[in-house]
Amino acid sequence: MRTTQAGRAMRLAVGAAAAVALLAGCSASSGADESAARTDVNYALPANATPNWIVPLGIAGKLATHNSAIMRTLWEPLVAYDGSEGEVGRVATADLADEITFSDDSRTVTITLDDRTWSDGEPVTSADVAFWFDLVKANTDLWASYSEGRMPDNVTEVATPDEKTVELTFDKVYNPEWLQASQLTLVVPLPSHAWAKAADDDEPDPALAETKDGARAIFDYLVTQSEDLGTYATNPLWQTVNGPYTLTGFTDAGQVELTRNETYDGDDAASIDTVNLLPYTSTDAEVNAVRSGAVDYGYIPTTGLDAPEQYEQLGYTVEPWAGWSITYLPYNFNHPELGPVYRQLYVRQALQHLVDQEQISEVIWKGAALPGYGPVPQNPESDFLSAEQKDNPYPFDPEAATALLADHGWTPGADGVLECTDPGEGDDQCGKDVEQGQKLAITILSQSGSAETDNMFAEIKSTMEQAGVGVTIETAPLNTVLSSIAPCTADQPDCDWELPFFGTAGSWYFGGYPSGERVFGTGAASNFGSYSDETFDQLMHDSTESTDPSVMQEYSRYGAENLPVMWLPNPVYQVSVIKEGLEGTTQDPLASFHPQRWSWAG
């Protein structure tokens, strides 16, 4: 009897093993066929960062890279710059311009448009370019890419001699490289025949945008529609596209479905029929999805770089995605209590001395972040980078930080946190407008979802508290952080934020030209902390007009030394995991994904 049972058990075991082997064989052999047969891709959105904008007229707080990337799949810009072909440059196949010709005096640029149509069959015309200018010129107070004196202020005339030609006249001669890479790339022709209205029931009238009131009404209407996330997939406005995809699904949780635009007639057509953009509340949750095979193009925490083979065994390629970016914490210079403190250069120098960028990059980010000391991206190095920025004017030095604060009238209070005990404007006093008893206790509002970011701020908190700087760390999803930090004045009730962090995947990505007028220029919409410095403004201004690299180097030096923000290690956009067989995934250093160039091998 025992023999019989043992024999039965053995037969069952062998049978089970055979079945498993058979299934494994089947699945292995079908794996390759499966990727060849697939027509969809599942792409993981950044952790705790869901798309929340669609109209390609960004307002403050809506410029997250994934928002921009989705827009670009729906509406092509007038001039496209990206790094999807290996180096950053114009990608003519992905834009609506055919030829771009500068006049001899470089004051006028003539752009002829490709022969293209919108998804409803109407042609893309020069009037659609003029429509964009009309809307943006009338709404510079809302458009998030605005910087005084730059686009659209620097365009004195938009002429449309025929349906396919646009002539832009500038107020003076600019650096053509900057003009093309940083200004013309902002222009996104919009379907005036469908969008030129101020209410759902209105008949579109492109002439409406030609008056300021009309343009403001249209802009308001489009913004209101874009705030209604639940209708993204059904709103007729967003169905009129000219890009390689159409948006066919959008859930409240932030899951997006892009479907190949069957009417697309450009040179950047999609191969993949359906692209699903999947939201996750944390990197850990996303990694679990990667390990289960539910994600084709996702990411892992930097700790995964220690043992990439565990993902390679699952059929993924592990590839860090480096960006042409800088990462920082903006100071709110208009904060009612701490604004005057942040306006003191010696305070910013002391705080910068307390950030151990090398250790944080190496230990916490596992080398997937590199130290950054100024306003010019440092990886890869370029002619724009100054020696001062490269050498780090404020290396990690807690003693220097402590001395700087002590030398300016800050002494530890009963709780160990530094207090201003010598107010005044003298060289050894706290500085202008800093009051007696003001504590040096800062609050960092950090985006949530990343263990590396949490650990980075735990480390900074620890170091700063040893030096007597009180630190409170609050966390919130990326969209919450971005929507709570609009530039403000001290008398506004929402001006109580201090140091926001939105740089887990890099804080700011540049186009082809790393000038910082949109981030650091006085009054710029993305200058969240309201930093204002005449010299820096002038340097940024000069950098847009001159082709001499020394001008940008001077800008780099001044930004590194004057600390308009607190510089932090610049992380890669993500450590990507890409399923084997998925091709065309060259990772754009401008942090945009281009699903139209993806395809499955076979």
Binding site: T303, V363, A458, E459, S462, T463
Partner: protein, 278 residues
């Protein structure tokens, strides 16, 4: 058979009590035996495996000694659990006793409040609150206590409904005792068995709730930590084989919750007359 003997007769209850005592000693006195730096980070000693450089349980991503961290985290978990459980027990007992004793419309209204509160998941309330303010230890004690009193209120109210009809309660009222005196001196003392047993479960539940919130990344501010926060910090390293970051806090939570439940069972044996021999 005395109460202590009845408790001792329940082997699991004894094991639970011993385990609880050891965990409290570990958390409270452990740092005296194994002193470590738990405020200042040390990136130079980050991610060390067990045994390296005098760290019996290794270090975490910020260089904190993991054994020492387990001790200080235990203090927070146990402190929040015990105090939140006590607060929930006090509030629930008073609420339930008054409702059961007074009866009628007052009882109906008070218990509908309890029903409404129970219908809202505590974890949901806590997460919403956590998104508004980053909790401190004190705030977590108050908040956890205030979302956990509903179940004891129901239990005590049922007891009070029975106790209020007893002769000694009627006699007290006949002799002129006020309602508040009757509730505090006669009703509540006669529900103490239920209160004590339930309190142990309340503490266990509160410890678990703290762990949930911290595991979801919404717990106390670093460098303060608790066992749930340690789990949350360690989970990123689960695929790197860093078991020392996950297993110890996970085990600590399991042990303390099981121990409290065993002790609660033992106490139930002590106060439950139905199981006793005549």
């Amino acid at each position: 058979m005395t109460g202590l003997r009845r408790f001792a007769a329940n082997r699991l209850a004894v094991v639970g009590a011993v385990a609880l005592l050891l965990l409290v000693l570990f958390a409270v006195l452990g740092p005296l035996v194994h002193p470590t730096e738990q405020v200042t980070t040390d990136l130079g000693a980050a991610n060390l495996p067990p045994g390296a450089d005098g760290h019996p349980l290794g270090t975490d991503a910020l260089g904190y000694d993991n054994l020492g961290r387990l001790m200080v985290a235990g203090r927070v978990s146990l402190l929040v659990g015990v105090l939140a459980g006590a607060l929930a027990t006090v509030v629930g007992t008073l609420w339930g006793a008054v409702a059961g004793y007074v009866g009628g419309v007052v009882d109906a209204v008070m218990m509908r409040v309890v029903d409404a509160g129970i219908a809202i998941p505590a974890i949901f309330l806590l997460l919403v609150l956590s998104t508004i303010v980053r909790p401190t230890v004190g705030m977590m004690i108050v908040v956890l206590g205030l979302v956990s009193w509903l179940v004891p209120a129901r239990l005590i109210r049922a007891e009070a409904l029975s106790v209020r009809t007893r002769d000694y309660v009627v006699a007290a009222r006949a002799m002129g005792a006020t309602h508040s005196r009757t509730v505090l001196s006669h009703v509540i003392p006669n529900t103490v068995g239920t209160v004590v047993v339930n309190a142990t479960f309340q503490v266990a539940d509160a410890i678990l709730l703290v762990a949930y919130i911290s595991f979801l990344g919404m717990g106390v501010q670093p460098p303060t930590t608790d066992w749930g926060a340690m789990l949350n910090d360690g989970i990123s390293y689960i695929y790197q084989g860093a078991w020392w970051l996950i297993l110890p806090p996970g085990l600590a939570i399991v042990i303390v919750v099981c121990a409290l439940n065993f002790v609660g069972d033992g106490l139930r044996d002590v106060v439950d007359v139905r199981g006793r021999a005549a």
